[in-house]
């Protein structure tokens, strides 16, 4: 590409986005290092210069947390990175994470005017560039509002909880985050693998929230160690529930409890949170066979398949009952997976698992599917093809067909209104639940969704909680 020279004439704007360097597939399939390597300063400026600075920016409308996208991009063009990151962090406390795992192609970038006649601005890559830039030096903590002497309990240290906590702390409230696992981060530490979101990034973002004055209390399961009524009676003025969707769904087909069949949650918790890829250096084992089938085709399925490959599996397949078009994973992740050699077995649904005498899975009985009319999800309904049963050899199966909310809080909080799917009911405008002073947001309200939508919900609930606390006097 020819470098644009300074000139008085209007520049022709490149239609193509600046590509981001990635580890080569043949290298990265053997390591857990990050795949995407990020923009260099020159690349970031070059990409930022493509932004038209629309007077009525559509991208902002596509952002769940309403980041002033053109503004931070303009500041990149001017090389004012410190100001740019400040602008970004006004709306998003965790930019290093969002820049990596947000589905920008369905949000801000989908709205980008540049996308109409070429490729949209790579907003996510620019966000990541700024966040990584900031991390190279000690991160500045913004000025906080004077103390309000109000105490807020945030339940769950995942994307929703961390965002709510950061926002409430900035507003001058005293915030304690209760996390049931031994490490804060929620799905960011137990779910998303190192090669997509390095744990040092999560640690650094958690550190930022802590330095805002937020207390992190790990190993505390709200519902048993303490209950919500106890928190409210014990000195907390408000509660935010951000416990996510952490319960694995199974297929309920014969043989599902054989050895070698993991939920994606178990598999990813072992690998990511417990570092079993370093077994026996770390104590938590994982058993990876030669032929692995991952059931499902969302981001979690891709993460599981690519992790299995890195753990030394010979052949890893994604088994999905619909076609490529309906795959819920991000296009980028499907592309990454295929480049690494993951096999896509489409229009196939498992119907049973067959084990050996030791109770270990050896075969997976399947049936072929065809697509019918769209169902309530808008995707074409998969229909079994009669008489098309067949079996494939497997010795490890990972079931990644979705997750539902954990019921512990719902069971132990009297008066908390929930739905049949175990999600918590809120007032959409405020995030308040059926209990006064108790708010909720993220996957616990919506069911399994994205990191950024959870962060948006955390942000909105924090503002409502602030209004509630200020009004309470």
């Amino acid at each position: 590409m020819v470098e644009d020279k300074p000139t008085s004439r209007p520049k022709r704007i490149r239609r193509e986005t600046v590509r981001m360097a990635r580890q080569k597939p043949e290298d990265r399939r053997h390591n857990f290092d990050e795949v995407a390597l990020g923009y260099t300063e020159d690349q970031a400026i070059s990409e930022a210069e493509r932004c038209l600075q629309c007077p009525d920016p559509q991208c902002v409308k596509g952002c769940p947390v309403e980041i002033e996208i053109p503004e931070f991009i303009r500041l990149i063009v001017e090389c004012k990175y410190d100001d740019a990151i400040k602008e970004l962090k006004r709306k998003n406390s965790l930019p290093a994470i969002c820049g990596r795992v947000c589905p920008q192609e369905e949000q801000c970038q989908q709205q980008c005017v540049m996308g109409k006649a070429g490729e949209p601005i790579s907003i996510g890559r620019l966000e990541r560039f700024l966040a990584d830039w900031e991390m190279k030096k000690p991160i500045e903590v913004p000025q906080k509002a004077p103390p309000t002497n109000k105490r807020v309990a945030v339940i769950g240290a995942g994307p929703a909880g961390l965002t709510a906590a950061a926002e409430l702390a900035k507003l001058g409230h005293e915030v304690t985050v209760f996390e049931s696992l031994h490490k804060p981060g929620g799905v960011l530490v137990y779910g998303i693998p190192e090669f997509r979101l390095p744990k040092r990034i999560v640690a650094s973002e958690v550190d930022y929230v802590t330095r805002l004055g937020v207390t992190m209390k790990t190993n505390t399961l709200i519902g048993t160690t303490h209950t919500i009524p106890e928190l409210l009676n014990g000195g907390f003025d408000a509660v935010f529930i951000g416990t996510g969707a952490g319960l694995p769904m199974f297929m309920r087909i014969p043989g599902e409890n054989l050895g070698g069949i993991y939920s994606s949650n178990e598999f990813l918790i072992r690998v990511n949170l417990m570092k079993s890829y370093e077994f026996p250096h770390y104590d938590t084992p994982i058993r990876i066979g030669k032929k692995i089938a991952v059931i499902g085709a969302g981001n979690v399925a891709m993460d599981s398949a690519r992790s299995a490959l890195r753990l030394g599996a010979e052949e890893v397949s994604i088994v999905y009952r619909r076609s490529r078009e309906e795959m819920p994973a991000r296009a980028e992740e499907i592309e990454n997976a295929e480049e690494e050699g993951i096999i896509m077995k489409l229009l196939i649904n498992p119907i049973r698992f067959i084990g050996d005498e030791k109770g270990w899975v050896r075969k997976m009985g399947c049936i072929r599917m065809k697509l019918g009319d769209p169902d309530e999800s808008g995707r074409r309904r998969p229909i079994p093809v009669e008489g098309s049963e067949f079996a494939i050899d497997v010795d490890t199966v990972i079931i990644a067909i979705g997750r539902t909310p954990n019921p512990i809080i719902q069971k132990t909080t009297e008066g908390l209104k929930t739905t049949k799917r175990n999600t918590v009911v809120i007032d959409e405008s405020t995030g308040e639940t059926s209990l006064k002073g108790v708010y909720a947001g993220g996957d616990i309200v919506t069911g399994e969704a994205t990191v950024i939508s959870a962060m948006g919900a955390g942000m909105r609930a924090a503002r409502s909680i602030h209004e509630y606390l200020v009004g309470k006097g």
Binding site: S180, L181, H182, Y190, T218, N219, T220, L221, T224, T225, H226, G246, L247, P248, F250, R252, E256, N257, G259, G260, Y262, S263, N265, E266, I269, R270, M274, K275, F279, P280, H281, Y282, D283, T284, P285, R287, K358, G359, W360, N406, P407, I408
Partner: protein, 280 residues
């Protein structure tokens, strides 16, 4: 960090630790468990609570040194600390006045059964306890169990104390003698629980078992602890740990417990090598 305040060797390879954990002690109920992680590289594993003191803020765990984590736990001394303890987890036992109750327990399961026997006694039940072990020196908490039991029977596999054989044999004899138990609690190794369930099933005697399958988080997230109960898959962590013993698929439970035996052996031999190096 959760400090070790007391350590007792109850029998060879069976140790008791009292740990400072006031928040857990304040909430614990009979039948519940905790998940521990000993150090930064440690795995998460469950142990049923053997006792707790809300006033002192302590919990008590009893364990058999059988794998890397329990062997490591056994090396902790008073003043050392466990890195992570979370709990209380699982549903408490359904303690109420049943009438005549049998508490059948084997091995280190006696420690898990102890709070249940105590709670059942305090709820006004007539408690008949049967405790067993491979041999006399492995019998634990005999005095403690006695203090909350109306009758206490002992069995050892080798006959070194009490009945020679299994706890389930003793239960069978009592039933033959005319004991009509309103409920039976069976807590111990899966084989012992299965044998007990096989004794009570023909008599349709309600039998509760406390399951201890492999768990990672212990809070419903991983599904490693899934067990087949009746026709359904249940999670021992949030649906249990206690289930109707007549409905539990013990064969599956036993196979799932053995899933990581080769890895456990590998980890143990590595730990032994490291210890050997340390001694040199």
């Amino acid at each position: 960090m959760y400090k070790v305040l007391k350590k007792v060797e109850l029998a060879p390879k069976i140790k008791l630790l009292e740990i400072d954990a006031p928040e857990i002690a304040a909430k614990a109920k009979a039948g519940q468990f905790v998940i521990l992680r000993i150090d930064e590289k440690g795995e998460r594993f469950p142990l049923t609570l053997a006792d707790w003191e809300p006033k002192e803020g302590t919990i008590t765990i009893v364990f058999l040194e059988v794998g890397v984590s329990t062997v490591k736990l056994g090396t902790l001394e008073v003043g050392d600390a466990v890195l992570d303890v979370v709990g209380p987890l699982g549903n408490p036992s359904d303690i109420k006045h049943y009438g005549l109750v049998a508490v059948v327990c084997g091995g280190v399961g006696t420690a898990a059964a102890y709070p249940i026997a105590k709670a059942l006694k305090e709820a006004g039940n007539q408690v008949v306890s049967i405790i067993g072990a491979r041999t006399e020196e492995l019998l634990i908490l005999e005095e403690e169990m006695k203090s909350f039991s109306d009758e206490l029977y002992i069995s050892t596999d080798d006959g070194s104390k009490g009945h020679k054989g299994f706890v389930s044999d003793v239960l069978e004899t009592l039933i033959e003698k005319g004991y009509r138990f309103d409920i039976v609690y069976a807590i111990g190794p899966p084989l012992m629980m299965r044998a007990t369930v096989n004794v009570t099933k023909p008599h349709s005697m309600k039998t509760i078992v406390s399951l201890n399958p492999i768990m990672v988080d212990g809070m419903g997230m991983c599904g490693a602890c899934r067990v087949t109960v009746g026709e359904e898959t249940r999670f021992a962590c949030i649906d249990g740990p206690e289930f109707d013993g007549h409905l539990v698929d013990f064969d599956e439970l036993i196979k799932r417990l053995r899933a990581y035996l080769p890895e456990e052996k590998q980890a143990m031999s590595r730990l032994e090598e490291r210890c050997a190096c340390a001694w040199k």
